[in-house]
């Protein structure tokens, strides 16, 4: 069969035609059919369908639940008023202290107020001598810890306040509460004495010869860690220098 013959055969196949009766019947039959538009799937249905499928699979359900919680949680926390505090909390958790964001002055004020409040409470409650002594020691131990964490330039002010409060307490309760030989008390005296010596030394040219001798004596006491005695000597200079 040549190509021409093949083409002729193919062309003659067009003679294949459907039955005329069927053609007319089929046409009428099709046209008589009516179709209603399928209800469109709204957003709600789409979401239900999507999540329905998702949550039908246990592994996906857990994964999606976790992701949704994480997403909403993050959005809520970031937008909440505690959002900025979280950074501080995170820094505490990671080992760094919250004090980083608090100014030294604020910290000192807070520490002083806290110690003063405790002291005032003992005075107000007019506790027995022994009881007041025990509680004051606790406060001093606590204050000693706070003293270590304070900046060098603020230590003296805090130490002075604490010692003054204890002295008031002793005066009110008519009893010796603060034992100068105790290491905690020594720490406070050391800080105060050191600060006093520095201040007087900065003003040394205005000192009299007698005051200079006293200052030297005080320094000697300080060097041998007799801070109480050193302070006593220093207080002798104070009135004259004023």
């Amino acid at each position: 069969m040549t190509e021409y013959e093949v083409i002729k055969k193919l062309e003659s196949m067009k003679k294949i035609k459907p039955n005329d009766d069927w053609v007319n019947f089929s046409k009428q039959n099709i046209i008589s059919k009516t179709f209603e538009p399928e209800p469109s799937i709204g957003l709600k249905d789409t979401i239900i369908e999507l999540f329905g499928v998702t949550f039908n699979r246990p592994k996906l359900a857990f994964a999606y639940s976790f992701l949704i919680c994480l997403l909403f949680g993050t959005v809520f926390i970031v937008n909440s008023p505690y959002g900025s505090d979280l950074a501080q909390l995170a820094s505490v958790i990671s080992g760094s202290k919250i004090e980083k964001s608090v100014s030294p002055e604020e910290k000192l004020l807070a520490v002083i107020q806290d110690t003063e409040l405790k002291m005032d409470k003992i005075v107000a409650e007019s506790k027995e001598k022994g009881e007041a002594q025990v509680e004051t020691k606790k406060i001093l131990a606590d204050a000693s810890e706070k003293l270590k964490s304070l900046p060098a330039d603020q230590k003296a002010k805090f130490a002075g306040t604490v010692v003054a409060k204890v002295k008031t307490l002793e005066k009110n309760s008519n009893a010796v509460i603060m034992n100068e030989k105790e290491p905690v008390v020594q720490e406070f005296y050391q800080v105060i004495a050191e600060n006093e010596i520095k201040e007087i030394e900065s003003n040394e040219k205005n000192l009299t010869d007698e005051q200079k001798v006293i200052l030297k004596k005080a320094k000697d006491f300080f060097d041998v860690k007799k801070y109480g005695e050193a302070l006593e000597e220093l207080y002798k200079i104070q009135p004259a220098s004023n």
């Binding site: 067009k14 294949i16 035609k17 089929s26």
Partner: protein, 187 residues
């Protein structure tokens, strides 16, 4: 219901009737134009008059659905041939059938010339059987291109539209199709 409302309703009804009439005309036009081609296209694949009629009906029912629901039919030819191809595939899938061999008696029954003598008819039948069998063995892409170009005698532009290809690519397909058809016939 006042007069104005009745008038409005009547107008709406008239509009709907007009619209339906227009849709029916459009469908009727496409039906008349493509029924034969689609029928033959399916017929060569299923080799059964009744099945070809059913599947052809299905193709045009879907077309009517498309039109009656105001959905756009851009390229009627491509739409109908793609639909026909998919419906035939679905048919074979649903009936779990292997592609049937070409039933030449069935084909000849629809085009036999009663005036010709029995000998002549037998010879024609034999030649058609050979061509139809060869067509059935062709690669689908080539078969469709050759069918549309030679059997349906559509111009290249229309064949290209129906196949969704460029005219150049369509010419290549037809040429390769013919080459494959001849190779099959010779073997």
């Amino acid at each position: 219901m006042d007069e104005f409302e009745s008038l409005k309703l009547l107008k709406r009804k008239l509009n709907m009737t007009e619209k339906k009439k227009y849709k029916e005309q459009f469908f009727s036009q496409l039906y008349d134009e493509y029924l034969g081609r689609i029928y033959r296209f399916i017929y060569f694949k299923v080799s059964s008059e009744s099945i070809a009629q059913d599947l052809t009906s299905e193709v045009f029912t879907r077309l009517w659905k498309q039109i009656s629901l105001d959905k756009e039919v851009k390229n009627s030819s491509a739409f109908l041939f793609t639909l026909a191809r998919n419906i035939v595939i679905d048919y074979y899938r649903a009936h779990d059938k292997e592609k049937s061999n070409v039933d030449i008696d069935s084909i000849m029954g629809t085009m036999e010339d009663k005036k010709q003598d029995i000998h002549k008819n037998a010879q024609i039948k034999e030649e058609y059987a050979a061509v139809a069998c060869a067509m059935d063995k062709m690669k689908e892409e080539y078969r469709q291109a050759v069918h549309l170009y030679y059997v349906e005698q559509e111009p290249i532009t229309e064949v290209a539209k129906s196949l969704g290809k460029s005219q150049g690519a369509t010419r290549v397909l037809i040429s390769r199709g013919m080459k494959q058809l001849r190779q099959i016939l010779e073997s």
